[in-house]
Amino acid sequence: MSATEARYRLQSLKRKYRLIRLLETLLFSVAIALVVYATLNFFRVPNVWIWTSTLVSLIASYVVRSIRLKLWKISEAGVVHYMNQHYPQLEESTDLLVRDDESLTSLQQLQKRRTLQHFETLYSTVKLPHNLAQASLVFVLGVVAYVSLTAFAGKENTPSDRAAQANVIAPVEETHLPATIKRAVITFTPPAYTGLPKKSSNTFNVRVPEGTTVAWDLQFTENVTHPAIIFSAHDSLALASQGEQYNAHRQFDETLFYQIAWTNTDGSRKYSDYFTIEIVRDQPPVVSVDNLDQFISLRLTDNLKINLKSTLTDDYRVKDAYIIATVSKGSGESVKFREEKLRFDTPGTFSGKHIAATRTLDIVKLGLDPGDELYFYVEAFDNKVPKANRARTETYFISLQDTSQQTTSIDPGLGVDLMPDYFRSQRQIIIDSEKLLKEKKQLSKEVFNARSNELAYDQKVLRLRYGEFLGEEFESGIGPQVEAPAADDDEDVTKKYGHAHDTENEHNLVDDKKTAPAQAGQDHHDHAGADNDDPVKAYTHAHDSEDEATFFAQSIRSKLKAAITIMWDAELHLRLYDPQQSLPYQYKALKLLKEISQDSRIYVHRTGFDPPPLKEEKRLTGDQTELKNSSAQNTSLKTETYPNIRKAATLLEKFSDTTPIVVTPASKDILLKAGQELSAIAIAQPGRYLKSLSLLKGLAENELEKARQPEALRVVKAALWSVLPQEAASPQAHARTTHSLDDQFLKHMETLKQK
């Protein structure tokens, strides 16, 4: 190795040393800067400060370290000195290597050559002093500290994280403990059926499932008395003491606010901020039928097996679900319903949040005939206790078409489909009779008899009313009958009821063949005389006997007659104060009346209002002596909405003029009352007014620092103002002060106008 080469080597050693030291310093300072950054970030110091301090610490540590290592002073001489000191092989002669041969004595030159040889062998093994390992370790530690610190601090910073958190059933946001509360542990136990674990936190605002039991475990910094939790539902819960600990628990089904109140040692009552307990309702299951239209019309030739697919979801668990199917058979008045509960084919038992259930509906098996309809819906229950939430789908319709449908034509006179109203009357009499019998023991004889008689009267009225449309005569027709001319009778009935049914003409219109066997004999009553023993009848056209002069078919008539006869008996026994005896008759009558009602339509003549008779002598006399002025008086003042909020809004307007705010006891009272009104509104929209509520409370208690007051005033004012409803404008009276000149002016104007 030549001398120049050796010198070059020394130079490179110097460079290497400097580089190593630089790296080392850099590692140190970056580590320190990282730790500073992470620490400040953890404590939520404003960003500007974080960055300034980080930069300052980075530069400062770098500079300090550099000064200590004298990095800028590294020179060749230093390296030479180091070599001399640490490598005795060089015999303290390294400095000769950097000097030119010319300036050296021969001895020195000799020595230089020796040293060169040594240096050559030594060069590759030269170890420069460094603390790289240490620096790396510090750097790694710094990185670890940074990662761990930012991992905790960063969470609340990103909005997406916060959004994600909102869905978690847990504390809503970080809250600061009130000044005198040292420690608070709030435990919430969701109801067992939700399957959610028990949780604790030290934040006061909580969001929990419905039915959760919330337990507070509080510790105060000083001695307090009467600690209690006050709820927005005008309810409070005293905290029980266990040494220094105070605890209480309650189950919640409604969203509400609460605050913690306690009495200090100096006797003053203190209140904490408002906190929310937000209840997440257990939603009813969501049920849907996925594959069917709401109205399905099938022909007999179609596939009569319908596959029903249903999706059931719930926020916790679907416990049970089934199909309620109703088969309606027949048409018109003889519709019959049959309800069936059908289980799903799959799954057999329900569990889980999301279930797809299926069932094949066999129309034939369900007993549907052509013309029948099937109505069904799916009903599902969740696992909520004590009362499960229930949900059902819309009703789905499946109709099996009847291709051979008959149409019945209604006779023109019977357009009104009126079922008799007073069949209940007979039933009512029965019920009353039975009631009377039941109460017989408690009643005096007179009362019993009187009531029995009253029932008898009711029975009579009923009988007479039925008699009315059997023909008036029936009532009086106990004695011998006088036959009236048939034509007259016919006309009479027609007039009376406006019902042209039993005319001669009609018989030509009626289709003989289609009449049912049961009706055959009765319908043709006019010719039935052929079988009669009376020979005269065979030759006369006895069209309508008095008895038959109604629009009823023969069977109904006879049934009605029978019913009326039985009613007579029922009345008789009631009149004899013997309801027991009367009851069987009443039941018989009811049975007959029911049969009649099902047999045919019955036209019931409704009785209207009967005005009292006019006094003829008073009519049109114009006498008004008895007429007086009438008057009505009412006071319909609107009640002012939110009186305390209005008062508080006025008060806050005044406050905004004065700084600092001075809260008198009277204004504190107004503010607290306004807070109560606001909290009642806030329950509906907890997020919206919570901040205003706590600020309002802060203002009322005069707890806010002076700097925060104007902003708090603004927020609370805006909140109160937004609560006040928009109302209709109402005219107001105005005052006007007029000068005598104004009057003069008006007077002259008037005279001018008149000219």
Binding site: K717, A728, S730, A733, H734
Partner: protein, 580 residues
């Protein structure tokens, strides 16, 4: 010419300084150093400087007496041009204005009382009106300074009542660019608008207060760069005052029943009378004790603020009753009526009606078009007719002043439909203005009016005018009596002046009247408005013709700084001399 304004007596100064000068001179003479002559000279200079500081010499020169007064907002260009034309003008500037070259500062505007008569020009925003009052003989020409930017006029439509739409009208003077004007209420933003381009832009903002009392609204002006100015606008929302309304009708109609319900709900005192037969009536009372009105007399009508009497009922009144109604209207009663479908014009009406073909009409209420049935007549627009509801087809509802009272006419029918459809806000918006305009204005004894235009700042005088029939009225500003002076020519008109207190709400209480509230703004708020007012006032006081000028002696103090410099230099030489 030099004059002295000595701080101490010149004799005393001489008595003190001459011996000291001699003493120091003698000491310097005896000192064995170089520059003896110069040192002695330095001592003399030193003492002279000291004497001059104490004697305060000033130069006096003969000058034109005319004064050019510079007030804030002047431009040097204006002053230069003016001085070029009239170089002999003395230039003064007010304390708050920027000095101009050699301008003389007015230590206080009170000196205007002494020298104000010589002011010939005022440049800038001008003098405040109370300063103008100090100048006995105003003979000056006012030249406004640089253009104003900002709100130059603003007024809230009086009176402001809860749930009634109130408007703020103003003008924005814009120099360039786009500006946004926001109106913020206690509950947040109420209204806003945009102003583009240079010039004066009239604007209108509206708000609906939901609450009674004294409220502070904020008018915020923002430019496109985001610079905002905030000015607080005081709004006083009046208390509700109930009306006494008398309905006279032959039979109840849906229209009146709903009107009754609406008015009764708002707390007004109502009496309704329907005719059952000739002498028999049915009465309904709301919010008041029953008091049958069998005959319309002056006494009965005096108690009512508004009479609702349709034409059919009118025709069934007796002649004396009709006369009583007319007299009552002249005395201040409001009378609302519906014309008869058959009759068109009546002599009892101050209206002329014009027939139209349609029996419905469309009106706009609270930004929504509504179609309502209407009688096929429209009120013709004559002098003396005031419009309440108007649309394209003509005047639908109107009233006219008759004596002190008013007669109103409503051609809209079946307005209860609005109420039935749940739109009580629009029902109120339709009826409230008409009823309010018609109702009797209760005669107050006193009325207070602040004459000084808004805004009012602390420690500035406010002029008030009081209208009072009292022989010796009293007016209290925050419980402090204001001395009042009655107008020389007008009876019962009193004026006074008082000093505004701290920023905030204050009351003016005149005798038995309800106290009126006024708001003292913080100094600096409404600067554009203040400037515009000042300019208007100065412009009003300005004269354009030139006046003969006279000569005056103007003395100007020589700044003591020069003497102090002399003193320091001389002292420094004396100190340095031994070391040289």
């Amino acid at each position: 010419m030099i004059t002295f304004h000595a701080l101490l007596s010149p004799l005393l100064i001489a008595g003190l300084l001459v011996p000291i000068t001699i003493l120091f001179g003698w000491l310097e003479w005896n000192r064995k150093h170089r520059f003896r002559g110069l040192r002695i000279l330095a001592v003399v200079v030193l003492m002279t400087a000291l004497a001059l500081i104490l004697l305060r010499p000033s130069t006096t020169e003969e000058k034109d007496a005319s004064v050019l007064l510079l007030t804030p907002g002047y431009t040097s260009k204006q002053v230069d041009s003016l001085l070029q034309k009239q170089p002999n003008l003395q230039v003064w500037h007010t304390a708050d204005a920027v000095p101009f070259k050699n301008s003389i500062a007015l230590s206080s505007t009170h000196t205007l009382a002494l020298h104000g008569d010589n002011i010939r020009f005022v440049i800038g925003n001008g003098l405040a009106d109370y300063d103008l009052d100090l100048i006995k003989e105003k003979h000056f020409t006012y030249l406004p300074g640089q253009p104003i930017e900002g709100i130059t006029t603003i007024a809230v439509s009086e009176p402001v009542r809860a749930h009634h739409l109130a408007t703020v009208e103003g003008t924005y003077a814009n120099i360039a660019g786009t500006k946004w004007i926001y109106l913020n209420g206690p509950g947040g933003k109420e209204d806003s608008l945009k102003v583009t381009g240079a010039g004066r832009h009239p604007f209108q903002l509206s708000f609906t207060p939901k609450q009674k009392g004294s409220l502070l609204y904020t008018v915020i002006t923002k430019d496109s760069a985001g610079h905002a100015t905030e000015d607080r606008l005081p709004v006083f929302v009046d208390e509700d005052r109930a009306l006494t309304v008398l309905f006279i009708q032959n039979f109840p109609t849906f229209e009146t029943q709903y009107l009754k319900r609406y008015l009764a709900h708002a707390g007004h005192k109502l009496t309704l009378r329907y005719q059952l037969s000739k002498q028999i009536f049915r009465f309904e009372y709301a919010n008041r004790a029953s008091q049958p009105v069998n005959k319309l007399t002056t006494e009965v009508l005096q108690q009512a603020d508004l009479l609702i009497l349709d034409r059919n009922a009118w025709q069934s009144l007796s002649t004396t009753e009709k006369a009583a109604v007319h007299n009552a209207v002249r005395a201040g009663l409001g009378w609302l009526t519906w014309p008869n479908a058959k009759e068109k014009v009546s002599q009892d009406f101050p209206f002329a009606l014009a027939a139209v073909k349609t029996d419905t009409t469309q009106i706009t209420l609270l930004q929504k078009a509504i179609t309502l049935p209407a009688l096929p007549y429209r009120v013709e627009n004559q002098t003396g007719i005031q419009t309440s509801v108007k649309n394209k087809s003509g005047i639908v509802a109107a009233y006219a002043q008759v004596g002190r009272g008013k007669i109103g006419l409503q051609t809209l029918q079946e307005t209860y439909r609005l109420s039935l459809s749940g739109d009580s806000l629009r029902y109120g918006a339709l009826w409230s203005p008409l009823i309010e305009a018609l109702a009797r204005k209760s005669a107050g004894v006193t009325a207070v009016r602040i004459v000084t235009p808004f805004p009012w700042y602390a420690d500035e005088p406010i002029a008030v005018q009081l209208l009072s029939a009292h022989p010796n009225p009293a007016l209290l500003a925050d419980s402090i009596g204001i001395p009042l002076q009655e107008d020389v020519q007008l009876d019962d008109v009193w004026s006074g002046k008082f000093w505004a207190g701290q920023p905030g709400w204050h009351t003016l209480q005149a005798d038995d009247a309800t106290p009126s509230l006024y708001y003292i703004s913080t100094t600096g708020e409404w600067s554009g408005l203040r400037q515009a007012t000042l300019r208007a006032q100065n412009m009003a006081a300005s004269e354009s013709h030139a006046l003969q000028t006279e000569k005056v002696y103007v003395s100007r103090e020589i700044s003591p700084v020069y003497f102090f410099a002399m003193f320091v230099l001389a002292a420094a030489f004396l100190w340095m001399a031994p070391k040289l």
